[in-house]
Amino acid sequence: MDAPLTTTTNGNDAPPERVDLRAEFNEVGIGEVLDQLDRELIGLKPVKTRIREVAALLLVERLRKRMGLATGNPTLHMSFTGNPGTGKTTVALRIASILHKLGFVRRGHVVSVTRDELVGQYIGHTAPKTKEVLKKAMGGVLFIDEAYYLYRPENERDYGQEAIEILLQVMENQRDDLVVILAGYADRMEKFFQSNPGFRSRIAHHIDFPDYTDGELLGIAEGMLREQNYNFTPEAKAAFERYIAARKTQPLFANARSIRNALDRIRLRQANRLIADLDRSLSAEDIITIEAGDVLASRVFATGEGGGK
């Protein structure tokens, strides 16, 4: 993707006839963000590909603008669909940074909200509440998690509809000020878009987040541990692989989030194991090491592996 390219136009315009794509690419510094995305986020191949495509499109759009060929800002609203814990929020933060570097949003901050922050409790409460959030998100990215909760078809007097109307209006009229990202489970988002066609037509990029494979989850776990200065022993690593397989079969599995929670509990057990023997002197090695026992004490093994299969 980083072939040294130089674009030329036929040169009818007063603005620059030639632009150095590489210089432009380096200047905005998105290469760095994209590389960081590759390095720090494990898996998510299709997502990364899509983001690279979007970034390329925006870079070209930026050049077109410089050459006086662009006609207004492109629609940038997106929808992220995927199961919980697949990195939607994290990617939203990166997208905001990419958009900011390319100059498509002015500030590059992300305001993350759910239905509660947008929809009011009584008549006349919703509009000010939604506008409050929109005002805070201006110049950045508004990330609406579990967006389908905004629309409750079973209750026709639900105030969610009001919030949707205000959102749609701002998404249309203030495209230069705000990028909206809707996120949620794939099937429910699909239903949401079906009942609110206005949203679908205003969203340019639909990005689907796949579930992580076992290997990717293990990689994520190791990355998290490294960040916190912990280490698996080889046995613990093998035990954790079994843990992942067992946990996946259980309900309420939330991909990376479940892994993070599991690691928190494992650290708790490790601390308890260390504290149990107060007379012992500990080395740094002892403190950073997580043993198989810490992993195997999990409830998941009691119910999952034996009962589930």
């Binding site: 002015r106 500030r107 000010p128 005002k135 805070k136 201006m138 110049g139 950045g140 203030q174």
Partner: protein
């Protein structure tokens, strides 16, 4: 008679672009921007009505400009001013305030003279527009 008050009172009215730049400056300083309106032009009238709540935690001027556009839609025939409040310790007061909207016609003030004891004179100003009841002063 063109009423002036607050910052930039010696300048022509700011354009929206200039207002937006001032708002961005205020937000950059961490001040909360607030919109107020009134139809009583007297300089000593400090009781302007608030347009919604002061806007805290904004990052970009677009949010304020959106509210201003809405306020103008409803009260475009009145004075609207924008103020920026600094909540930091030691300040806790308005740091910036200027008029962002005014009625098309400003009839001005009548100077009243009152003769009091020993040929002294007391002066008072009274806005012509204030003769009409509130809400009907500028053709609205």
């Amino acid at each position: 008679m063109r009423i002036t008050q607050g910052c930039f009172s010696f300048l022509p009215d700011l354009t929206d672009e200039q207002i937006s730049a001032q708002v961005q400056y205020a937000l950059g300083k961490g001040w909360a921007v607030n919109l107020e309106f009134t139809d009583d032009p007297h300089p000593r009238n400090t009781y302007w009505e608030m347009w919604g709540l002061p806007m805290f935690d904004l990052q970009d001027a677009a949010g304020v400009m959106m509210e201003l556009a809405e306020c103008r839609k409803v009260y475009g025939d009145r004075y609207i001013r924008l103020s920026a409040f600094d909540s930091s310790h030691g300040w806790e007061s308005v740091r910036l305030s200027f008029i962002v909207n005014r009625p098309k016609e400003e009839p001005g003030f009548r100077l009243g003279r009152q003769e009091v004891e020993s040929r002294n004179m007391r002066y008072t100003t009274r806005a012509y527009s204030a003769d009409k009841p509130e809400g009907h002063r500028y053709g609205g």
